[in-house]
Protein backbone atom coordinates (compact mmCIF):
# COMPACT_ATOMS: atom_id res chain seq x y z
CA UNK A 1 0.00 0.00 0.00
CA UNK A 2 2.85 2.30 0.83
CA UNK A 3 4.30 1.71 -2.61
CA UNK A 4 1.26 3.27 -4.20
CA UNK A 5 0.86 6.04 -1.68
CA UNK A 6 4.33 7.53 -1.95
CA UNK A 7 4.39 7.96 -5.73
CA UNK A 8 0.80 9.11 -5.51
CA UNK A 9 1.77 11.81 -3.07
CA UNK A 10 4.72 12.98 -5.10
CA UNK A 11 2.66 13.27 -8.24
CA UNK A 12 0.02 15.20 -6.33
CA UNK A 13 2.63 17.52 -4.88
CA UNK A 14 3.82 18.28 -8.37
CA UNK A 15 0.38 19.42 -9.37
CA UNK A 16 0.74 22.71 -7.57
CA UNK A 17 -1.70 24.25 -5.16
CA UNK A 18 -4.48 21.79 -5.91
CA UNK A 19 -2.26 18.85 -5.11
CA UNK A 20 -1.18 20.39 -1.85
CA UNK A 21 -4.75 21.06 -0.85
CA UNK A 22 -5.56 17.42 -1.35
CA UNK A 23 -2.50 16.29 0.57
CA UNK A 24 -3.25 18.65 3.41
CA UNK A 25 -6.90 17.71 3.53
CA UNK A 26 -6.15 14.02 3.36
CA UNK A 27 -3.57 14.42 6.10
CA UNK A 28 -6.06 16.08 8.41
CA UNK A 29 -8.66 13.42 7.79
CA UNK A 30 -6.17 10.61 8.21
CA UNK A 31 -4.94 12.14 11.42
CA UNK A 32 -8.42 12.19 12.85
CA UNK A 33 -9.16 8.64 11.74
CA UNK A 34 -5.91 7.33 13.19
CA UNK A 35 -6.40 9.27 16.35
CA UNK A 36 -9.87 7.86 16.82
CA UNK A 37 -8.72 4.37 15.98
CA UNK A 38 -5.87 4.28 18.47
CA UNK A 39 -7.72 6.22 21.13
CA UNK A 40 -8.42 3.15 23.27
CA UNK A 41 -4.69 2.86 23.73
CA UNK A 42 -3.64 6.44 24.07
CA UNK A 43 -6.49 7.95 26.00
CA UNK A 44 -5.27 8.60 29.54
CA UNK A 45 -8.68 7.96 31.00
CA UNK A 46 -11.81 6.06 30.09
CA UNK A 47 -13.76 8.70 28.19
CA UNK A 48 -17.12 7.43 29.34
CA UNK A 49 -16.22 7.07 32.97
CA UNK A 50 -17.54 9.77 35.16
CA UNK A 51 -15.76 11.42 37.98
CA UNK A 52 -12.25 10.48 36.94
CA UNK A 53 -11.45 13.86 38.25
CA UNK A 54 -13.08 16.84 39.85
CA UNK A 55 -15.94 18.17 37.69
CA UNK A 56 -15.31 21.31 35.70
CA UNK A 57 -11.59 21.55 36.19
CA UNK A 58 -9.93 23.85 33.70
CA UNK A 59 -7.12 22.44 31.56
CA UNK A 60 -4.11 21.42 33.59
CA UNK A 61 -1.25 18.97 33.47
CA UNK A 62 -3.30 16.04 34.60
CA UNK A 63 -6.38 16.67 32.53
CA UNK A 64 -5.03 18.31 29.39
CA UNK A 65 -8.32 19.67 28.22
CA UNK A 66 -9.98 19.85 31.58
CA UNK A 67 -13.04 17.97 32.73
CA UNK A 68 -16.73 18.42 32.06
CA UNK A 69 -19.62 18.61 34.46
CA UNK A 70 -19.70 14.88 34.94
CA UNK A 71 -16.04 14.79 35.79
CA UNK A 72 -15.14 13.14 32.48
CA UNK A 73 -11.77 13.87 30.93
CA UNK A 74 -12.35 16.11 27.96
CA UNK A 75 -9.06 15.12 26.33
CA UNK A 76 -9.97 11.45 26.29
CA UNK A 77 -13.40 12.33 24.96
CA UNK A 78 -11.86 14.40 22.21
CA UNK A 79 -9.56 11.56 21.22
CA UNK A 80 -12.30 9.02 20.98
CA UNK A 81 -15.32 11.13 20.11
CA UNK A 82 -14.76 11.16 16.39
CA UNK A 83 -15.89 7.62 15.87
CA UNK A 84 -19.57 8.33 15.52
CA UNK A 85 -18.98 11.32 13.26
CA UNK A 86 -16.81 9.32 10.93
CA UNK A 87 -19.14 6.38 10.82
CA UNK A 88 -22.16 8.53 10.15
CA UNK A 89 -20.54 10.62 7.46
CA UNK A 90 -19.03 7.64 5.65
CA UNK A 91 -22.28 5.71 5.80
CA UNK A 92 -24.36 8.61 4.57
CA UNK A 93 -21.99 9.23 1.66
CA UNK A 94 -22.22 5.57 0.71
CA UNK A 95 -26.00 5.70 0.76
CA UNK A 96 -25.99 8.90 -1.26
CA UNK A 97 -23.72 7.38 -3.87
CA UNK A 98 -25.72 4.20 -4.06
CA UNK A 99 -29.00 6.03 -4.42
CA UNK A 100 -28.15 9.42 -5.90
CA UNK A 101 -25.84 8.33 -8.71
CA UNK A 102 -28.09 5.75 -10.38
CA UNK A 103 -31.12 7.99 -9.95
CA UNK A 104 -29.32 10.95 -11.47
CA UNK A 105 -27.96 8.91 -14.36
CA UNK A 106 -31.17 7.20 -15.17
CA UNK A 107 -33.43 10.19 -14.79
CA UNK A 108 -31.40 12.57 -16.94
CA UNK A 109 -30.62 10.05 -19.64
CA UNK A 110 -34.23 8.95 -19.91
CA UNK A 111 -35.53 12.48 -20.02
CA UNK A 112 -39.17 13.27 -20.62
CA UNK A 113 -41.75 12.77 -17.98
CA UNK A 114 -39.64 10.50 -15.81
CA UNK A 115 -37.04 13.20 -15.54
CA UNK A 116 -39.66 15.83 -14.75
CA UNK A 117 -41.09 13.75 -11.93
CA UNK A 118 -37.75 13.01 -10.35
CA UNK A 119 -36.68 16.60 -10.63
CA UNK A 120 -39.84 17.68 -8.87
CA UNK A 121 -39.26 15.26 -6.03
CA UNK A 122 -35.61 16.17 -5.69
CA UNK A 123 -36.25 19.88 -5.85
CA UNK A 124 -38.85 19.58 -3.12
CA UNK A 125 -36.44 17.84 -0.83
CA UNK A 126 -33.73 20.32 -1.76
CA UNK A 127 -35.98 23.21 -0.85
CA UNK A 128 -35.86 22.32 2.81
CA UNK A 129 -33.02 23.64 4.93
CA UNK A 130 -30.77 20.66 5.40
CA UNK A 131 -30.58 20.51 9.13
CA UNK A 132 -34.30 21.05 9.61
CA UNK A 133 -35.12 18.20 7.29
CA UNK A 134 -32.56 15.92 8.91
CA UNK A 135 -34.04 16.66 12.27
CA UNK A 136 -37.52 15.96 11.04
CA UNK A 137 -36.51 12.62 9.56
CA UNK A 138 -34.39 11.62 12.52
CA UNK A 139 -37.24 12.48 14.83
CA UNK A 140 -39.39 10.10 12.84
CA UNK A 141 -37.09 7.16 12.49
CA UNK A 142 -35.26 7.39 15.75
CA UNK A 143 -31.72 7.55 16.98
CA UNK A 144 -28.68 5.46 16.32
CA UNK A 145 -25.82 5.57 13.86
CA UNK A 146 -27.71 3.98 10.97
CA UNK A 147 -30.76 6.17 11.35
CA UNK A 148 -28.63 9.27 11.58
CA UNK A 149 -26.84 8.29 8.41
CA UNK A 150 -30.12 7.72 6.64
CA UNK A 151 -31.55 11.05 7.66
CA UNK A 152 -28.47 12.85 6.47
CA UNK A 153 -28.36 10.84 3.26
CA UNK A 154 -31.91 11.76 2.34
CA UNK A 155 -31.08 15.42 2.78
CA UNK A 156 -28.08 15.21 0.46
CA UNK A 157 -29.28 12.91 -2.28
CA UNK A 158 -30.83 15.84 -4.18
CA UNK A 159 -27.43 17.56 -4.38
CA UNK A 160 -25.90 14.48 -5.94
CA UNK A 161 -28.87 14.18 -8.23
CA UNK A 162 -28.53 17.76 -9.41
CA UNK A 163 -24.81 17.64 -10.00
CA UNK A 164 -25.00 14.37 -11.86
CA UNK A 165 -27.99 15.46 -13.85
CA UNK A 166 -26.37 18.65 -15.09
CA UNK A 167 -23.27 16.72 -16.10
CA UNK A 168 -25.21 14.01 -17.86
CA UNK A 169 -27.32 16.52 -19.72
CA UNK A 170 -24.29 18.21 -21.17
CA UNK A 171 -22.43 15.00 -21.92
CA UNK A 172 -25.48 13.46 -23.52
CA UNK A 173 -25.23 16.01 -26.32
CA UNK A 174 -21.56 15.46 -26.98
CA UNK A 175 -20.54 14.08 -30.36
CA UNK A 176 -18.82 11.10 -28.80
CA UNK A 177 -22.09 9.95 -27.29
CA UNK A 178 -23.78 10.48 -30.65
CA UNK A 179 -20.97 8.49 -32.18
CA UNK A 180 -21.55 5.66 -29.73
CA UNK A 181 -25.18 5.69 -30.79
CA UNK A 182 -24.13 5.73 -34.41
CA UNK A 183 -22.04 2.59 -34.03
CA UNK A 184 -24.97 0.88 -32.42
CA UNK A 185 -24.23 0.90 -28.71
CA UNK A 186 -27.14 0.20 -26.41
CA UNK A 187 -28.28 2.72 -23.82
CA UNK A 188 -26.85 0.73 -20.96
CA UNK A 189 -23.42 0.61 -22.59
CA UNK A 190 -23.54 4.31 -23.28
CA UNK A 191 -24.45 5.13 -19.70
CA UNK A 192 -21.82 2.91 -18.19
CA UNK A 193 -18.91 3.35 -20.54
CA UNK A 194 -19.39 6.75 -22.08
CA UNK A 195 -21.24 8.86 -19.60
CA UNK A 196 -20.37 7.53 -16.17
CA UNK A 197 -16.59 7.62 -16.54
CA UNK A 198 -16.84 11.25 -17.56
CA UNK A 199 -18.85 12.32 -14.56
CA UNK A 200 -16.73 10.55 -11.99
CA UNK A 201 -14.74 13.71 -11.28
CA UNK A 202 -17.89 15.57 -10.32
CA UNK A 203 -19.08 12.69 -8.19
CA UNK A 204 -15.82 12.58 -6.31
CA UNK A 205 -15.99 16.28 -5.68
CA UNK A 206 -19.53 16.30 -4.39
CA UNK A 207 -18.83 13.27 -2.23
CA UNK A 208 -15.96 14.97 -0.47
CA UNK A 209 -17.95 18.13 0.06
CA UNK A 210 -20.77 15.97 1.31
CA UNK A 211 -18.50 14.42 3.91
CA UNK A 212 -17.82 17.78 5.42
CA UNK A 213 -21.46 18.71 5.41
CA UNK A 214 -22.52 15.40 6.86
CA UNK A 215 -20.21 15.82 9.80
CA UNK A 216 -21.66 19.17 10.62
CA UNK A 217 -25.19 17.91 10.26
CA UNK A 218 -24.41 14.91 12.42
CA UNK A 219 -23.05 17.24 15.05
CA UNK A 220 -26.24 19.18 14.76
CA UNK A 221 -28.39 16.13 15.22
CA UNK A 222 -26.54 15.01 18.27
CA UNK A 223 -26.67 18.55 19.52
CA UNK A 224 -30.42 18.31 19.54
CA UNK A 225 -30.36 14.92 21.12
CA UNK A 226 -31.38 12.94 18.08
CA UNK A 227 -28.04 11.26 17.73
CA UNK A 228 -26.56 8.59 19.92
CA UNK A 229 -26.91 7.63 23.53
CA UNK A 230 -24.89 9.67 26.00
CA UNK A 231 -22.61 6.91 27.13
CA UNK A 232 -20.75 6.81 23.82
CA UNK A 233 -18.25 9.65 23.62
CA UNK A 234 -19.24 11.94 20.80
CA UNK A 235 -18.15 15.41 19.85
CA UNK A 236 -21.64 16.38 18.88
CA UNK A 237 -22.89 15.58 22.31
CA UNK A 238 -20.05 17.46 23.88
CA UNK A 239 -21.06 20.49 21.88
CA UNK A 240 -24.53 20.42 23.38
CA UNK A 241 -23.22 19.91 26.81
CA UNK A 242 -20.42 22.40 26.43
CA UNK A 243 -22.78 25.10 25.28
CA UNK A 244 -24.76 24.79 28.39
CA UNK A 245 -21.61 25.06 30.45
CA UNK A 246 -20.22 28.05 28.59
CA UNK A 247 -22.24 30.43 30.64
CA UNK A 248 -20.64 29.17 33.81
CA UNK A 249 -17.23 29.87 32.31
CA UNK A 250 -16.17 26.32 31.41
CA UNK A 251 -15.08 27.17 27.86
CA UNK A 252 -12.95 24.06 27.40
CA UNK A 253 -15.77 21.56 27.23
CA UNK A 254 -17.15 22.97 23.97
CA UNK A 255 -13.99 24.40 22.44
CA UNK A 256 -11.88 21.30 21.97
CA UNK A 257 -14.51 19.01 20.49
CA UNK A 258 -15.64 21.97 18.40
CA UNK A 259 -12.14 22.44 17.07
CA UNK A 260 -11.93 18.78 16.16
CA UNK A 261 -15.16 18.99 14.21
CA UNK A 262 -13.79 21.97 12.38
CA UNK A 263 -10.58 20.12 11.57
CA UNK A 264 -12.36 17.10 10.22
CA UNK A 265 -14.77 19.16 8.14
CA UNK A 266 -11.87 21.31 6.96
CA UNK A 267 -9.91 18.26 5.95
CA UNK A 268 -12.74 17.06 3.73
CA UNK A 269 -13.36 20.49 2.32
CA UNK A 270 -9.73 20.96 1.38
CA UNK A 271 -9.72 17.62 -0.33
CA UNK A 272 -12.86 18.54 -2.18
CA UNK A 273 -11.44 21.88 -3.27
CA UNK A 274 -8.19 20.33 -4.37
CA UNK A 275 -9.93 17.57 -6.27
CA UNK A 276 -12.29 20.02 -7.90
CA UNK A 277 -9.35 22.11 -9.05
CA UNK A 278 -7.50 19.07 -10.28
CA UNK A 279 -10.29 17.25 -12.01
CA UNK A 280 -11.95 20.21 -13.63
CA UNK A 281 -8.94 21.84 -15.19
CA UNK A 282 -9.12 25.56 -15.71
CA UNK A 283 -8.71 26.99 -19.15
CA UNK A 284 -5.16 26.53 -20.25
CA UNK A 285 -3.73 28.44 -23.14
Amino acid sequence: MLSTIIPGLTSLARRGLAGWLIILGAALVTLVIVMTAISPWIAPYNPGEINVGQPLMSPNSQYLFGTNDLGQDVYSRVLSGGGIMLQVSILSVIVCLAAGVPLGLFSSYAGGIIDRVFCLVMDSIYAFPGLVLAIAIAAMIGRGVINMSLSIAVVYIPSYFRVIRSQVLSIKEMPYVEAANAVGARSRTILLRYILPNIVPSIVVIATVNFADAILTAAGLTFIGLGVPVSIPDWGYDLTNGRRLLTSGAWWVITFPGLMIIFLALGFTLMGEGLSELLNPRLEQ
Partner: protein
Protein backbone atom coordinates in the same frame (compact mmCIF):
# COMPACT_ATOMS: atom_id res chain seq x y z
CA UNK B 1 -52.20 24.62 -56.92
CA UNK B 2 -50.06 24.62 -59.98
CA UNK B 3 -49.73 21.38 -61.84
CA UNK B 4 -46.07 21.00 -62.39
CA UNK B 5 -44.42 18.37 -64.46
CA UNK B 6 -42.41 16.51 -61.93
CA UNK B 7 -39.11 15.13 -62.95
CA UNK B 8 -39.60 11.45 -63.48
CA UNK B 9 -37.42 9.80 -60.98
CA UNK B 10 -35.40 6.98 -62.40
CA UNK B 11 -34.53 4.54 -59.72
CA UNK B 12 -30.98 3.93 -60.75
CA UNK B 13 -29.48 0.61 -59.85
CA UNK B 14 -26.44 2.27 -58.43
CA UNK B 15 -28.44 4.33 -55.97
CA UNK B 16 -27.27 3.62 -52.48
CA UNK B 17 -29.30 6.21 -50.62
CA UNK B 18 -32.57 7.76 -51.59
CA UNK B 19 -34.33 10.40 -49.57
CA UNK B 20 -38.02 11.11 -50.20
CA UNK B 21 -40.03 14.00 -48.79
CA UNK B 22 -37.88 14.06 -45.71
CA UNK B 23 -39.06 16.40 -43.01
CA UNK B 24 -37.83 17.16 -39.54
CA UNK B 25 -39.71 19.62 -37.42
CA UNK B 26 -38.50 20.39 -33.92
CA UNK B 27 -41.17 21.64 -31.53
CA UNK B 28 -40.31 24.95 -29.99
CA UNK B 29 -40.04 24.71 -26.24
CA UNK B 30 -42.53 27.02 -24.64
CA UNK B 31 -43.25 27.86 -21.09
CA UNK B 32 -46.54 26.75 -19.63
CA UNK B 33 -48.07 30.17 -19.95
CA UNK B 34 -47.01 30.58 -23.54
CA UNK B 35 -48.51 27.25 -24.36
CA UNK B 36 -51.81 28.22 -22.83
CA UNK B 37 -51.94 31.57 -24.57
CA UNK B 38 -50.74 30.49 -27.99
CA UNK B 39 -53.20 28.85 -30.30
CA UNK B 40 -50.85 26.75 -32.35
CA UNK B 41 -47.62 25.01 -31.66
CA UNK B 42 -44.62 26.39 -33.44
CA UNK B 43 -41.91 24.32 -34.97
CA UNK B 44 -38.42 24.83 -36.12
CA UNK B 45 -38.68 23.43 -39.63
CA UNK B 46 -35.12 22.26 -39.88
CA UNK B 47 -35.64 19.97 -42.86
CA UNK B 48 -38.69 20.73 -44.93
CA UNK B 49 -39.43 18.24 -47.69
CA UNK B 50 -36.11 17.20 -49.10
CA UNK B 51 -35.58 14.74 -51.97
CA UNK B 52 -32.34 13.50 -53.39
CA UNK B 53 -30.39 10.36 -54.05
CA UNK B 54 -26.78 9.39 -53.70
CA UNK B 55 -25.10 7.01 -56.12
CA UNK B 56 -22.70 4.32 -55.08
CA UNK B 57 -19.12 5.50 -54.91
CA UNK B 58 -19.79 9.17 -55.30
CA UNK B 59 -19.14 12.11 -53.05
CA UNK B 60 -22.43 13.93 -52.72
CA UNK B 61 -22.24 17.26 -50.97
CA UNK B 62 -24.92 19.05 -49.04
CA UNK B 63 -23.83 22.63 -48.93
CA UNK B 64 -25.30 25.65 -47.29
CA UNK B 65 -24.88 27.98 -44.39
CA UNK B 66 -25.49 27.28 -40.77
CA UNK B 67 -29.13 26.61 -40.02
CA UNK B 68 -30.01 25.42 -43.52
CA UNK B 69 -30.70 21.90 -42.30
CA UNK B 70 -27.79 20.05 -43.83
CA UNK B 71 -26.47 18.61 -40.57
CA UNK B 72 -29.95 17.56 -39.54
CA UNK B 73 -30.41 15.81 -42.89
CA UNK B 74 -27.19 13.92 -42.35
CA UNK B 75 -28.29 12.78 -38.94
CA UNK B 76 -31.68 11.77 -40.25
CA UNK B 77 -30.09 9.53 -42.84
CA UNK B 78 -28.11 7.59 -40.26
CA UNK B 79 -31.12 7.59 -37.99
CA UNK B 80 -29.54 9.42 -35.13
CA UNK B 81 -32.79 11.32 -34.95
CA UNK B 82 -36.17 10.12 -36.20
CA UNK B 83 -37.81 11.95 -39.11
CA UNK B 84 -41.07 13.79 -38.65
CA UNK B 85 -42.14 12.33 -41.98
CA UNK B 86 -40.62 11.05 -45.18
CA UNK B 87 -38.53 8.08 -46.11
CA UNK B 88 -34.92 7.12 -46.36
CA UNK B 89 -33.96 4.17 -48.53
CA UNK B 90 -30.66 2.41 -48.10
CA UNK B 91 -29.91 -0.01 -50.90
CA UNK B 92 -33.59 0.22 -51.82
CA UNK B 93 -34.73 -0.80 -48.35
CA UNK B 94 -36.80 1.62 -46.30
CA UNK B 95 -34.82 2.15 -43.11
CA UNK B 96 -37.23 4.60 -41.57
CA UNK B 97 -39.70 1.78 -40.96
CA UNK B 98 -37.26 -0.65 -39.45
CA UNK B 99 -37.45 -1.63 -35.84
CA UNK B 100 -34.68 -0.62 -33.51
CA UNK B 101 -33.15 -4.06 -33.53
CA UNK B 102 -33.36 -4.52 -37.28
CA UNK B 103 -31.69 -1.22 -37.83
CA UNK B 104 -28.88 -2.00 -35.45
CA UNK B 105 -27.51 -4.37 -37.99
CA UNK B 106 -27.96 -1.83 -40.73
CA UNK B 107 -26.11 0.68 -38.60
CA UNK B 108 -22.85 -0.98 -39.39
CA UNK B 109 -23.20 0.05 -42.97
CA UNK B 110 -24.18 3.65 -42.29
CA UNK B 111 -21.64 5.66 -40.38
CA UNK B 112 -21.03 9.29 -39.50
CA UNK B 113 -18.02 11.47 -38.83
CA UNK B 114 -18.51 14.60 -36.80
CA UNK B 115 -17.26 18.13 -37.05
CA UNK B 116 -15.49 18.59 -33.76
CA UNK B 117 -12.51 16.30 -33.39
CA UNK B 118 -12.14 17.44 -29.81
CA UNK B 119 -15.56 16.22 -28.83
CA UNK B 120 -16.07 13.13 -30.95
CA UNK B 121 -13.86 10.85 -28.90
CA UNK B 122 -14.66 9.70 -25.38
CA UNK B 123 -12.01 11.37 -23.22
CA UNK B 124 -11.93 8.36 -20.91
CA UNK B 125 -11.24 5.74 -23.52
CA UNK B 126 -7.90 5.21 -25.13
CA UNK B 127 -7.77 5.06 -28.90
CA UNK B 128 -7.50 1.31 -29.00
CA UNK B 129 -10.63 0.79 -26.93
CA UNK B 130 -12.52 3.59 -28.65
CA UNK B 131 -11.83 2.26 -32.13
CA UNK B 132 -12.33 -1.36 -31.15
CA UNK B 133 -15.53 -0.82 -29.22
CA UNK B 134 -17.84 -1.05 -32.24
CA UNK B 135 -16.50 -4.55 -32.86
CA UNK B 136 -17.42 -5.57 -29.34
CA UNK B 137 -20.83 -4.00 -29.55
CA UNK B 138 -21.74 -6.01 -32.63
CA UNK B 139 -20.04 -9.14 -31.44
CA UNK B 140 -17.76 -9.22 -34.42
CA UNK B 141 -14.48 -9.62 -32.67
CA UNK B 142 -12.76 -9.23 -29.36
CA UNK B 143 -9.39 -9.49 -27.66
CA UNK B 144 -6.71 -10.60 -30.10
CA UNK B 145 -8.83 -10.42 -33.21
CA UNK B 146 -10.12 -7.02 -32.18
CA UNK B 147 -6.65 -5.72 -31.53
CA UNK B 148 -5.50 -6.94 -34.90
CA UNK B 149 -8.29 -5.15 -36.71
CA UNK B 150 -7.75 -1.98 -34.70
CA UNK B 151 -4.07 -1.89 -35.59
CA UNK B 152 -4.94 -2.47 -39.21
CA UNK B 153 -7.44 0.33 -39.43
CA UNK B 154 -5.27 2.77 -37.52
CA UNK B 155 -2.55 2.11 -40.01
CA UNK B 156 -4.97 2.66 -42.86
CA UNK B 157 -5.96 6.10 -41.61
CA UNK B 158 -2.39 7.16 -41.19
CA UNK B 159 -1.97 6.88 -37.44
CA UNK B 160 1.35 5.11 -37.64
CA UNK B 161 2.95 3.32 -35.95
CA UNK B 162 -0.43 2.00 -34.83
CA UNK B 163 0.77 0.22 -31.72
CA UNK B 164 1.96 3.54 -30.42
CA UNK B 165 -1.40 5.19 -30.86
CA UNK B 166 -3.43 2.36 -29.45
CA UNK B 167 -2.66 3.30 -25.86
CA UNK B 168 -2.93 7.04 -26.18
CA UNK B 169 -5.85 9.06 -24.93
CA UNK B 170 -7.60 11.69 -27.05
CA UNK B 171 -6.08 14.62 -25.23
CA UNK B 172 -2.66 13.39 -26.27
CA UNK B 173 -3.52 13.66 -29.93
CA UNK B 174 -3.69 16.67 -32.20
CA UNK B 175 -6.93 17.73 -33.88
CA UNK B 176 -6.02 16.08 -37.15
CA UNK B 177 -5.02 12.86 -35.42
CA UNK B 178 -8.25 12.80 -33.45
CA UNK B 179 -10.25 13.16 -36.62
CA UNK B 180 -8.38 10.23 -38.10
CA UNK B 181 -9.11 8.18 -35.00
CA UNK B 182 -12.79 9.06 -35.31
CA UNK B 183 -12.65 7.94 -38.93
CA UNK B 184 -10.99 4.69 -37.89
CA UNK B 185 -13.80 4.07 -35.46
CA UNK B 186 -16.39 4.50 -38.19
CA UNK B 187 -14.46 2.45 -40.70
CA UNK B 188 -13.79 -0.57 -38.54
CA UNK B 189 -17.31 -1.80 -39.13
CA UNK B 190 -16.69 -1.78 -42.89
CA UNK B 191 -19.51 0.59 -43.75
CA UNK B 192 -20.75 1.32 -47.22
CA UNK B 193 -21.95 4.84 -46.67
CA UNK B 194 -20.47 7.59 -44.54
CA UNK B 195 -21.97 10.93 -43.62
CA UNK B 196 -19.16 13.40 -43.06
CA UNK B 197 -20.49 16.40 -41.17
CA UNK B 198 -18.08 19.28 -41.68
CA UNK B 199 -15.12 16.98 -41.05
CA UNK B 200 -12.47 19.59 -41.62
CA UNK B 201 -13.95 22.90 -40.52
CA UNK B 202 -12.33 22.71 -37.12
CA UNK B 203 -8.98 21.57 -38.39
CA UNK B 204 -6.15 23.88 -39.33
CA UNK B 205 -6.23 25.00 -42.91
CA UNK B 206 -2.88 23.50 -43.81
CA UNK B 207 -3.96 20.08 -42.57
CA UNK B 208 -7.36 19.93 -44.19
CA UNK B 209 -6.07 18.57 -47.44
CA UNK B 210 -4.52 15.54 -45.73
CA UNK B 211 -7.85 14.57 -44.23
CA UNK B 212 -9.75 15.21 -47.44
CA UNK B 213 -7.23 13.27 -49.52
CA UNK B 214 -7.41 10.44 -47.01
CA UNK B 215 -11.16 10.34 -47.42
CA UNK B 216 -10.82 10.19 -51.18
CA UNK B 217 -8.21 7.42 -51.00
CA UNK B 218 -10.36 5.40 -48.67
CA UNK B 219 -13.26 5.82 -51.00
CA UNK B 220 -11.36 4.00 -53.68
CA UNK B 221 -9.81 1.37 -51.43
CA UNK B 222 -12.86 0.54 -49.39
CA UNK B 223 -15.56 1.29 -51.97
CA UNK B 224 -17.22 3.95 -49.87
CA UNK B 225 -19.87 6.49 -50.68
CA UNK B 226 -19.88 9.87 -48.93
CA UNK B 227 -22.47 12.41 -48.02
CA UNK B 228 -20.25 15.41 -47.40
CA UNK B 229 -21.75 18.25 -45.42
CA UNK B 230 -20.10 21.63 -45.46
CA UNK B 231 -20.61 25.37 -45.49
CA UNK B 232 -17.27 25.88 -47.23
CA UNK B 233 -18.04 25.83 -50.93
CA UNK B 234 -14.39 25.99 -51.87
CA UNK B 235 -13.82 22.64 -50.14
CA UNK B 236 -17.05 21.37 -51.69
CA UNK B 237 -15.74 22.18 -55.11
CA UNK B 238 -12.58 20.25 -54.45
CA UNK B 239 -14.11 17.07 -53.17
CA UNK B 240 -17.59 16.62 -54.62
CA UNK B 241 -19.01 14.81 -57.57
CA UNK B 242 -22.50 16.15 -57.13
CA UNK B 243 -23.69 18.93 -54.93
CA UNK B 244 -26.96 20.20 -53.49
CA UNK B 245 -27.36 23.70 -52.10
CA UNK B 246 -29.72 24.00 -49.18
CA UNK B 247 -31.51 27.05 -47.85
CA UNK B 248 -33.78 27.09 -44.83
CA UNK B 249 -34.53 23.40 -44.96
CA UNK B 250 -34.98 22.92 -48.68
CA UNK B 251 -32.77 22.10 -51.61
CA UNK B 252 -32.67 25.06 -53.97
CA UNK B 253 -30.24 23.75 -56.51
CA UNK B 254 -28.75 20.34 -57.19
CA UNK B 255 -26.50 18.87 -59.84
CA UNK B 256 -23.09 17.85 -61.03
CA UNK B 257 -20.34 19.87 -59.46
CA UNK B 258 -19.07 21.36 -62.69
CA UNK B 259 -22.56 22.48 -63.67
CA UNK B 260 -23.29 24.17 -60.41
CA UNK B 261 -20.02 26.00 -60.16
CA UNK B 262 -19.75 27.11 -63.73
CA UNK B 263 -23.38 28.07 -64.20
CA UNK B 264 -25.19 28.61 -60.93
CA UNK B 265 -28.80 29.48 -61.58
CA UNK B 266 -30.48 30.03 -58.25
CA UNK B 267 -29.88 33.57 -56.94
CA UNK B 268 -28.86 32.15 -53.59
CA UNK B 269 -26.24 29.92 -55.15
CA UNK B 270 -24.96 32.85 -57.16
CA UNK B 271 -24.74 34.99 -54.06
CA UNK B 272 -22.95 32.24 -52.13
CA UNK B 273 -20.43 31.59 -54.82
CA UNK B 274 -19.68 35.22 -55.34
CA UNK B 275 -19.16 35.84 -51.62
CA UNK B 276 -16.48 33.25 -51.19
CA UNK B 277 -13.10 34.88 -50.67
CA UNK B 278 -10.57 34.01 -53.31
CA UNK B 279 -6.88 33.92 -52.43
CA UNK B 280 -5.95 36.34 -55.16
CA UNK B 281 -5.31 40.02 -54.51
CA UNK B 282 -5.82 40.90 -58.13
CA UNK B 283 -9.26 39.51 -58.47
CA UNK B 284 -12.09 41.98 -58.85
CA UNK B 285 -15.10 40.90 -56.89
CA UNK B 286 -18.58 40.92 -58.35
CA UNK B 287 -20.63 39.96 -55.37
CA UNK B 288 -24.34 39.47 -55.71
CA UNK B 289 -25.97 41.55 -53.03
CA UNK B 290 -28.50 39.89 -50.78
CA UNK B 291 -30.87 41.88 -48.66
CA UNK B 292 -31.27 41.20 -44.99
CA UNK B 293 -30.39 37.99 -43.25
CA UNK B 294 -31.56 34.42 -43.08
CA UNK B 295 -35.08 34.33 -41.59
CA UNK B 296 -35.80 32.16 -38.60
CA UNK B 297 -36.74 28.57 -39.36
CA UNK B 298 -39.78 29.00 -37.15
CA UNK B 299 -41.34 31.64 -39.35
CA UNK B 300 -40.54 30.55 -42.83
CA UNK B 301 -41.51 33.12 -45.47
CA UNK B 302 -44.49 32.26 -47.63
CA UNK B 303 -44.07 30.98 -51.14
CA UNK B 304 -40.43 30.76 -52.11
CA UNK B 305 -38.64 31.00 -48.81
CA UNK B 306 -35.82 32.94 -50.36
CA UNK B 307 -37.98 35.77 -51.69
CA UNK B 308 -37.26 38.07 -48.73
CA UNK B 309 -33.64 38.36 -49.76
CA UNK B 310 -33.79 37.73 -53.47
CA UNK B 311 -32.76 40.56 -55.80
CA UNK B 312 -35.06 39.20 -58.50
CA UNK B 313 -38.13 38.46 -56.43
CA UNK B 314 -41.52 39.08 -58.01
CA UNK B 315 -45.09 38.86 -56.76
CA UNK B 316 -45.52 35.25 -57.70
CA UNK B 317 -42.52 34.32 -55.60
CA UNK B 318 -44.45 35.19 -52.47
CA UNK B 319 -47.32 32.94 -53.36
CA UNK B 320 -46.05 29.59 -54.53
CA UNK B 321 -43.15 27.44 -53.48
CA UNK B 322 -41.05 26.49 -56.47
CA UNK B 323 -40.37 22.85 -57.26
CA UNK B 324 -37.03 21.42 -58.29
CA UNK B 325 -37.10 21.45 -62.06
CA UNK B 326 -34.46 19.84 -64.23
CA UNK B 327 -32.71 22.35 -66.44
CA UNK B 328 -30.64 19.56 -67.90
CA UNK B 329 -30.07 15.97 -66.79
CA UNK B 330 -27.31 17.07 -64.48
CA UNK B 331 -28.75 20.21 -63.03
CA UNK B 332 -32.02 21.04 -61.28
CA UNK B 333 -33.09 24.27 -59.66
CA UNK B 334 -36.06 25.42 -57.61
CA UNK B 335 -36.81 28.91 -58.83
CA UNK B 336 -39.67 30.28 -60.86
CA UNK B 337 -37.80 33.25 -62.21
CA UNK B 338 -34.49 31.83 -63.19
CA UNK B 339 -35.32 28.43 -64.52
CA UNK B 340 -36.71 29.85 -67.66
Amino acid sequence: MLLVQRRKRKVSQSEIIRVEHLKKYFPVEKSFLERVLARTRSFVKAVDDVDFSVNKGEVFTLAGESGCGKSTTGRLIVRLIPPTSGKVYFNHVDITQMSHEEFRICRRKLQIIFQDPYASLNPRMNIGRAVGHPLEIHGIAKDEEERKRVLEILDRVGLTPPDQFINLYPHQLSGGQRQRAAMARSLILEPEFIVADEPVSMIDVSLRTTIIDLMLELRKELELTYLFITHDLAVAKYISDRIAIMYLGKIVEIGEKQEIFSSPIHPYTQALLSSIPVPNPERKRRAVELKGEVPSAINIPSGCRFHTRCPYAEEKCKRAEPELIAVNPNHSVACQIMER
